[in-house]
């Protein structure tokens, strides 16, 4: 039992170990306000960590995710502010764009057999280009109060953003761990041929994860826009994608497919934000975070190889 727990929730253990070390090393770390900051910082990227976990489980990857956030940001800004659409319509359209590009990714990968790495890198740049073109390189500021309220309203100590994140996690916990879709997704990631011959609709699974990734990127684009009260095409971006992949990998998903949990997605990103927080509190240059992320992702993959006895 203990062994299985560590295997499944190793990231939770790592999270607490890092928290304990941080509390000892940095006195200011252990405070209610600091924890609220970490949770707030992690809540939005956790949403796309969930998406990335599912994509990695298929053995694929979505490098367009960060750029999709940028397009979603500027698109919802233009829809709601510049074009004056009703907020609900603007949000729906934004998510529709997200799902459309997700579908494009899925089609390239599943039907046209483009390797996921290249397919999503390509669509990522297409998306980035489109975001720049429609924005004319400018940002959209001073968004309607009602729109901002969607993410900034306070309920107790939390903002609504955190609730959106929690709802997404709950929904996908059910989808991934309790539904037949999740089981099919796992089987597909572990053995595509056997799954197909067992009646798993492999094409649907593979398309669906990229559509989910597109929609969740859209949600994150909107939430980030609300957070900074400014829609901009450079929101998200390649660095954001990398951060999300790192968080997901810390959470136990690997790049070979078949493995991943929602709990892992949550605690993976929390761990990453705790590390960033420590660097911040220690007054070290922020770029340490980038370097550390690079180290983490390499170590995580090497550890995975050691665990699989490849090394």
């Amino acid at each position: 039992m203990g062994k299985k727990f560590i295997k499944d929730y190793g990231c939770v253990v790592i999270f607490f170990i890092i928290c304990v070390i941080a509390s000892i090393a940095i006195p200011r770390f252990l405070s209610f306000n600091n924890f609220m900051t970490i949770i707030k910082q992690a809540s939005i990227p956790i949403i796309v960590c969930v998406a990335m976990t599912m994509v990695l489980m298929t053995g694929g990857i979505d490098l367009s995710l960060g750029y999709m956030i940028g397009l979603a940001s500027i698109a919802c800004g233009i829809f709601i502010k510049s074009m004056g659409m009703p907020i609900a319509v603007g949000i729906l359209l934004t998510l529709l764009i997200g799902s459309a590009f997700g579908l494009l990714n899925g089609i390239c990968i599943q039907l046209l057999h483009v390797p996921a790495f290249i397919a999503t890198l390509g669509t990522g740049y297409i998306i980035y280009g489109i975001a720049q073109i429609i924005s004319n390189g400018e940002t959209v500021n001073h968004l309607p109060e009602a729109f901002l309220a969607l993410g900034k309203t306070k309920v107790g100590p939390f903002t609504t953003t955190i609730f959106v994140s929690a709802v997404v996690c709950l929904i996908f916990y059910y989808v991934l761990h309790k539904s037949t879709f999740g089981r099919n997704l796992m089987a597909f990631g572990m053995n595509e041929a056997a799954s197909h011959l067992s009646g798993v609709n492999t094409a649907f699974v593979n398309l669906a994860v990229y559509v989910i990734s597109g929609v969740l990127s859209g949600i994150v684009g909107i939430l980030l826009t609300i957070d900074v009260n400014c829609a901009q095409p450079t929101m998200g971006g390649g660095n954001y994608t990398f951060q999300v992949i790192t968080g997901t990998v810390i959470g136990g998903a690997n790049l070979y497919g078949g493995k991943g949990t929602i709990v892992g997605a949550i605690f993976g990103m929390l761990t990453l934000k705790v590390i960033a927080n420590c660097i911040n509190l220690a007054n070290a240059p922020y770029y340490f975070v980038d370097a550390i992320m690079g180290v983490i992702i390499l170590i995580a993959i090497i550890l995975e190889n050691v665990k699989n006895k490849k090394l």
Binding site: K178, T180, M186, A187, M190, A194, L197, S198, G199, V200
Partner: protein, 503 residues
């Protein structure tokens, strides 16, 4: 008496993980005081059920894993290998069941892999081709060394592997089930090569599950059971029942069970189906409660026919009528919904999801039917899987253990269990007993008989003639993508008759 070249004495090996490292806190022995020796220029056969320790013993000899207790003497020298290279340098050649050739290189490049002959600047291709040719010819194998390995048949690849092993000056060659995927004609050729090797003074350790061929090739035979050596006999004294008895520790009453009777109503009719462009059409039918065998060479189109019916590959025209209804645009998913199942030839690649547990593997094909594509009720799923595990007697520690940790025979049972829980009406079994031990085979035959008895139609593809003859009510033989013969009368079910249609 000829010289003893290998002497393994009281070899003991404790249980280890998949990578040869000991598991702490256990003292389970997988080899118990095994004595095994090989004479110069003999074919020594090693038999035993799956999990009896054959592979472990050979891995020790091949230097893949070390032994824990006992002693090993090779060519009069005490040895204890820590890596395969040492074993290779001593003259031990290991031909694994899964071939280790580079598919995209040609024969000569494979033979000289890692020790290419060099010319002034580049490798000396001319010389390599010449020497490859000589090496191949010395075993009576006439093939252009420029042929890419992927264009060779499995049998030909096997021969290339043998040539490669011999070219390392191997004096003792281990062959792990070399005939598992070969047809009779190819087996005959392989045996000729083995006899040639013996003439050159090479000894062969030959692992096989196929009893028919042992007498023809072997000099002595050693039986392993549960990690112990049961005995070594001279092949002159070979007696089928006695050896089976030694292997399983009891007398196997009957290999083939046949209590079912085919019914009149037809389940499947395939008319003018072309499995490839330009191949002749295929016409077959299967009745309820009938076991229909399909024989033929590997590559004759048997798997292609099965996958065409199942919707797992494209075919080129023809009509398929299933349960009285013409079907089109089939996919595995749709066919499974209709009760038509296909047990694939390769359980590790196409049959099971090895890193998933038994319950998940067994329920995989039934999820849409039982849970309507929504919430998986874990207890319902677990109960269904456990019942099936009990019913067909899968030997496992827990229903939540990973499929990869089971032995071959039990893996095959799990792959079959996945289809049994879907309530099939027609089962296509592609080599249902390949590479599994006699006991498991007999159990699978019993399951097949029981299914046929309950009215399920079974289409069984098999390369093993005794199995085809023993289990089938009717036999089709395939050749070059089409049906070359149909045997309906049990009196015609003879190896020679079937072979005449295959070649």
């Amino acid at each position: 008496m000829s010289k003893v070249i290998l002497k393994m004495q009281n070899i003991t090996k404790y249980i280890f993980d998949a990578y040869g490292k000991p598991i702490h806190g256990t003292d389970v022995k997988i080899l118990k005081d095994v004595n095994f020796d090989v004479h110069e220029a003999e074919v020594h056969i090693l038999v035993g059920e799956n999990g009896a320790g054959k592979s472990t013993l050979m891995k020790i000899l091949g230097g893949i894993i070390p032994y824990d207790e006992g002693s090993m003497e090779l060519f009069g020298q005490k040895v204890s290998f820590t890596n395969p290279r040492q074993s290779q340098e001593m003259g031990v050649g290991f031909i694994h069941q899964e071939l280790n050739l580079c598919q995209n290189l040609n024969v000569a490049e494979n033979l000289f892999l890692g020790r290419e002959l060099s010319g002034r600047v580049f490798s000396n291709k001319k010389e390599m081709y010449k020497r490859s040719r000589e090496m191949l010819m010395s075993l009576g194998f006439d093939i252009d060394p420029r042929t890419k390995v992927k264009n060779l048949s499995t049998a030909q690849q096997q021969i290339v592997e043998i040539v490669k092993v011999i070219s390392y000056d191997s004096k003792l060659v281990i062959m792990d089930e070399p005939t598992a995927s070969l047809t009779q004609a190819e087996i005959d050729h392989l045996f000729e090569i083995i006899r040639n090797m013996v003439k050159q003074g090479i000894s062969v350790i030959y692992i096989s599950h196929r009893f028919e061929e042992l007498k023809e090739i072997g000099d002595r035979l050693t039986v392993l059971r549960d990690g112990s050596c049961v005995g070594t006999i001279d092949m002159k004294d070979f007696d089928h029942d006695k050896v089976v008895n030694m292997m399983v520790g009891r007398t196997l009453t009957k290999m083939y069970t046949c209590t079912h009777t085919p019914k009149e109503n037809e389940i499947l009719r395939v008319e003018d189906l072309r499995i490839g462009q330009g191949t002749e059409p295929v016409n077959i039918h299967v009745n309820a409660g009938e076991i229909v065998g399909i024989g033929g060479l590997v590559g004759a189109g048997r798997t292609e026919l099965a996958k065409s019916i199942f919707g797992a590959r494209k075919y080129f025209g023809g009509r398929i009528t299933y349960l009285g209804e013409e079907i089109h645009g089939q996919t595995p998913r749709r066919m499974i919904e209709k009760g038509l199942m296909y047990l694939s030839e390769d359980r590790k690649i196409e049959g099971l999801v090895l890193p998933m547990d038994l319950v998940c593997n067994i329920s995989l094909a039934s999820l849409p039917r039982i849970f309507k594509n929504t919430y998986i009720k874990k207890d319902v799923e677990e109960k269904m899987a456990r019942e099936m595990i009990g019913e067909i007697d899968v030997v496992c520690n827990s229903s939540r253990q990973l499929a990869s940790t089971l032995s071959g025979g039990n893996q095959q049972k799990v792959a079959l269990a996945k289809w049994l829980v879907t309530n099939p009406k027609l089962l296509i079994l592609d080599e249902p007993t390949r590479g599994i031990d006699v006991n498991a085979k007999a159990e699978i035959y019993e399951i097949m008989d029981r299914l046929a008895g309950s009215g399920v139609g079974i289409l069984m593809i098999s390369s093993e003639l005794p199995e085809l003859i023993g289990m089938s009510d009717r036999i089709y033989i395939m050749k070059q993508g089409t049906i070359s013969g149909e045997l309906t009368d049990h009196k015609e079910f003879r190896q020679e008759t079937i072979l005449a249609y295959t070649i």
